[in-house]
Amino acid sequence: MFIIVFLLLFVILLILLLGYVLIPKSSLDGFVNEIKFNICSTRNLEYGDNKYSVLGYLDFGLGEKYFYNLKNSYKEGSQFYNFDWGNFGGVSNHWESFFFTGIYDTDKKTFTLPFMTDIPISITYTNAEGKHTIKPGYAVGPSVGDPSFSNKDEIASGKFTKVLVNSGKYNTSVSDPLYLLSFYYPSGSDDFADLLPRKEILLNGPSSEYYVGCDSNGYYLYEIPSAALGIDLVEGNQYELKLGVLGWIEEFNQNGYIKYPDSVKFAIGTVSAEEKEQEYRDKQLEIQKEQAETNKGIWDSLKEVLSYLNPFSENFFVYKLIELLIEGLKSLFVPSEDFFTNWFQDLNDYFSDVLGILYYPFDLLVKFFTRIGELEDTRSAVISWNNFDFMGATLIKAGSYDLYSLIDNNETFKNIHSIYLIFTDIILWLGVIFLGSNCLRTIFGGMIGEAVDVSTENERGYQNYSRQASYRKRYKEEHGKK
């Protein structure tokens, strides 16, 4: 009987232990709880005051990418774009600090917030690993500069995969829009048809699909793939890329390109015999590498298969089977990570809905224990209260009182209090020991001495019982006939 009980207890303990060990720990490491966005400036941030700016864009929203074009209240003649706080992710008051949840790369554990400001700001966010502060780019504002190609030499060589453009002051302080123009000269002449751009790509700041961020001056940076230029880059042909500023031409009384701040001509160069040979060698080398990889792959696969049959290998199939069994048992008996939390929350909500006031005491108990769990072991015992109003009159004014102020100024009281705390600790622990002792008595039937006492009592009781039984028997024999 006791063996069965012990076995059962052992199995239960094992399951509890397995549950503790095998239940996956919180996977929330690195999860961002909140981001606080602080404007660290003494500037006046009154709405409509054209003294501050945030350039670029912010990515935020958990798991999704939201694009915010901050160019929503551009003021002509200003060096800056105003930031309308009201349009910022549901934030209604521009003068208050506000919160939003940001995109967080859970693999890299990084934020990417490519935006510039004209005032120093900092963004703090907290996650499971603590509080972090990041400081985005800071610029006093864009200085004067013309748009230009950042990889002009590469473009001129004819071997490029993308075109990099720096907007300069355009699109940040000048209202005339900037375009990237692609020209193609099939005949190599100055034919009028060749003078028309084959494609015009509008580079209008963060709204542009080619916008990639700002440089340290606050100028916009664009990255346009060669495939998006609208021209087929064929070997031997002549091309030209221009940056054009569109504006009103009084002379023609219409819009036109008033300026070409930068341009670059290029031809897709012919490939020399040496380059072709090198290309062939590279290709052969690549094929050889691929073959080596394939052979290696086959050998590795064979080794892996054999390792399943080797009892000394970690991959031995029996171990794998045991692992599978453990996993199966785990999934069978151990509930999922959040199961009991969700279950408890679900029941709590259900009962508070259905039972109403009847559930209130239980709800209070839950709140009480939750609060106790949240308490920290600090040397602070402050009682605070709010205003207590009755019929418009304040009966009790809000205030607070620290119980430690009673003893802080008296060393004797402090010592007495410390000793008192030590005694409460001892009493609490003695209580637990007493509880544990009672539990052990219940399960194992008491201590050895007590067991002997009980056994002796039982023995005496049995002797008494036997004696009385023999008396009764004799009495019946003697007087039974009567």
Partner: protein, 90 residues
């Protein structure tokens, strides 16, 4: 999976038993807010316990006490089940 299934079944039974209580009228909002005010005031000031007892000790003791209580009751529960089994102990 088995534990989840059992717990879900128990939940369904509990909810079924509690369904008749849903006809109870709602408690007046004033009363609820007054009670909430009082208990929130009490709970938010529970820090005063720091003055009378070490919170760290209290938490540790509470955990151990809960563990002992669970062990005791689990034992009785298991024994109750075993006693229901038609097995002779002689």
């Amino acid at each position: 999976m088995i534990v989840e299934l059992i717990v879900n079944l128990i939940t369904i039974v509990i909810k079924l038993l509690a369904t008749p209580f849903s006809i109870l009228p709602d408690v007046p909002d004033g009363l609820v807010s007054a009670m909430d005010y009082f208990f929130n005031l009490l709970f938010s000031n529970l820090g005063f316990l720091n003055f009378f007892v070490n919170i760290g000790t209290l938490k540790a003791v509470a955990l151990v006490a809960i563990a002992i209580w669970t062990l005791d009751n689990s034992y009785h529960f298991i024994m109750w089940i075993i006693r229901k089994l038609p097995i002779s102990t002689d």
